[in-house]
Symmetry: C3
Subunit: 320 residues, 3 copies
Amino acid sequence: VTQRDETLRKLCDLAALVGGRVVGDADLLVRGVSGLAEATEGDLAFYNNPRYREQLKATKAAAVVVSEKGLAQLDGRPAIVAADPYLAFAKISSAFHPAPRFAPGIDPRACVEAGAEVDPTATVMAFAFVAKGARIGERTVLFPGAYVGEEARVGRDVVIYPNVVVRERCSVGDRSILQPGVVVGGDGFGFAFDPSVPCHFKIPQAGVVEIESDVEIGANTAIDRATLGATRIGQGPKIDNLTQIGHHVKVGPLCILCGQVGLAGSSELGAGVVCGGQVGVANHVKVCDKARILAQSGLLADVPGAGGGCRPPSSAAGTP
Amino acid sequence: VTQRDETLRKLCDLAALVGGRVVGDADLLVRGVSGLAEATEGDLAFYNNPRYREQLKATKAAAVVVSEKGLAQLDGRPAIVAADPYLAFAKISSAFHPAPRFAPGIDPRACVEAGAEVDPTATVMAFAFVAKGARIGERTVLFPGAYVGEEARVGRDVVIYPNVVVRERCSVGDRSILQPGVVVGGDGFGFAFDPSVPCHFKIPQAGVVEIESDVEIGANTAIDRATLGATRIGQGPKIDNLTQIGHHVKVGPLCILCGQVGLAGSSELGAGVVCGGQVGVANHVKVCDKARILAQSGLLADVPGAGGGCRPPSSAAGTP
Amino acid sequence: VTQRDETLRKLCDLAALVGGRVVGDADLLVRGVSGLAEATEGDLAFYNNPRYREQLKATKAAAVVVSEKGLAQLDGRPAIVAADPYLAFAKISSAFHPAPRFAPGIDPRACVEAGAEVDPTATVMAFAFVAKGARIGERTVLFPGAYVGEEARVGRDVVIYPNVVVRERCSVGDRSILQPGVVVGGDGFGFAFDPSVPCHFKIPQAGVVEIESDVEIGANTAIDRATLGATRIGQGPKIDNLTQIGHHVKVGPLCILCGQVGLAGSSELGAGVVCGGQVGVANHVKVCDKARILAQSGLLADVPGAGGGCRPPSSAAGTP
């Protein structure tokens, strides 16, 4: 559903969009964005890494987004010079790929139970299910196979891709995006061994998951509900595919969790923590603000800041 | 769908429920359970770890479940003293959070093929699919998007959450719980290289998965069917989210598999084995009863018991 | 839906099927294939590993597929001698387990949007969804809960198991098999930090995933779409469960990825690479043809071939 907007735009207008400076023909017409290697006539490309210098020389791009430092390598090609070329390119790409719009309304093949509240501007596609007491906000989209449980709350401008599950009483904040197969609110992993049976006695997982706004969650990631209280995802984190987030975990605002990270029960990440792929964090471990955890690390103990506060950025790595 | 029962209960009745002893006002009315930090008036909380001593001092809980040893730290607050406070708290929490009940019957928007047998007390929600020859037992619940394949058997009192897949001829025992997105019976990963094409020739995965009773399986976990014969999960294991269980694996009774564990084909866990998060067990490796495998370990060789028998509990850890 | 064909076959006919040589009664009737331990009268079993010599002695199998070298251990039992007994057994098993056939047609409870093209020989089951502009090839099967997005292309003889998602504009080649819960085309994990807000600005993931023919993808595996251009899976790889494949990744022909592997964005695997379970490959890392990466390894740098070309087979292992 990501669409390409075919409108031609002037290089100067794109520069203005990102607060950049034009070098060369300000009226050059740009038709889209592309990688250096794939660009064809009329494309705007992006250069920020000397690793790709050969691609830069050979590119057919009409213009390039570049830093002040990289400008000298362009050999006179038209450019937009920006303080952060990556961010500038991202914003220009967004102009050429506006968010898709969906016709509002509830497909007759969807199931919205009595007592659910779906905003009239929301879209509920075939085979989506909204249980009683659930609320779906303005312009939010539920794709086929999405399930929103009893009394769950989904904010406005949320995109819930196919086969996502948001179980009962959990909440998802505004502008969040749940990629296909995400599970929010599965039962936490809590059992007490009862030797008299013997069995692992199931502890009721009566809590919820609370996800704030602007959170993106990757395909097939699972976030468990708390035993009591809430598992909390703050404002703005981005979470990659196949990540495991246990019960009572706290993920601070603006964290980045790469693919296949596992956060065990009651672990806590401060603000702006970055976890590389396949990192594991043990039960109850606390990680300070802005810590950077290398891929495949296993954290068995807290990553504290200095002096009781925080010493960002800190790095931690290694296996137990 | 986890509901809270708002009935007030006397402290002495709760103590009787768990074989505990009341200290203080036996007629104290309790309205629910809560964490020490979140408890408000009328709540019963739980204390078992000196790490939370400050929370104990500050709690607003009306009473606390505690061990004989921890009792001295309560400063006269009413208590239930139990040999295993964690288990006692779990049982009391269950009294306040009874399993939800569902109206029996097949939703007209579900698809139950001719030749499937669904017990009249079972619940089949909209968009659930039961293929021909499948059997669904008493009081079992299929949420929306659940798929039960041809000739699969699901026992009684099973909960199958949204978008779970149980493929053809597999079986799930009584009282088991499959969290959203679980896949039971995907094809095992078996190929024979044929250099004459070249290709990886697919070996038919003609076996099944057999899951005994009282098994809980976490969100988006995958358990593969055997090439021939069966992948077997014994009675009572608890398996966390995003776990990979290959073909022909045997998981003994009462094992605990934490999140993102991977058990490669034909590996075998004895009874009561505990695997920490992200553990990997290689093909054909056998792990003795009650072994405890540390998080992120990679097991390339058997974890034997002593003298041909077993030496529980043993621990194994490390990377290959 | 894997069915067993109960036809009795002569040992000589089975040998001819795989280019093998009969030892013993050529007219012996075989009714099926089985493991050495589970075989009963009339079964054909397979022996290739001295680890299972005791099972060979005790087996009730009527005949055994074996290598020239293993023949001496059979004590006169009828046999098919094959250069590659494993491949021969796989092919014989396929004869006894032919691919299931499905009645063609679109179930009235499926949703095929106007403008989608579904070949009349394809099967679209209840609750499957095919969006406008999508194309489904000859004899391809969509199980319940499968979702194929706008303008996606699915080839011929493809099997799409329940609750698989193929998002918009992605493509899946002929004879591929997607196990339950697979997600193809979730958004790549691309954000640019904008300190002025602050937020992680979402970079549009306007590219696609292109999967060639004869690819098998395991349950709940996720393959992300590219930012621009394509994430590419070549011809013939086999990918196990719960694998993470980031945006712009290239997986060469005939690769084998075991369970829970993670390939970070823009990493590239050559032809015939084998990754053991839980391997992680970092961003932009290139792995040469036929490299073998040990389980749980973390690759932070390229695995090059010798002299600018490739030195297969190479091995790499270890944690960062």
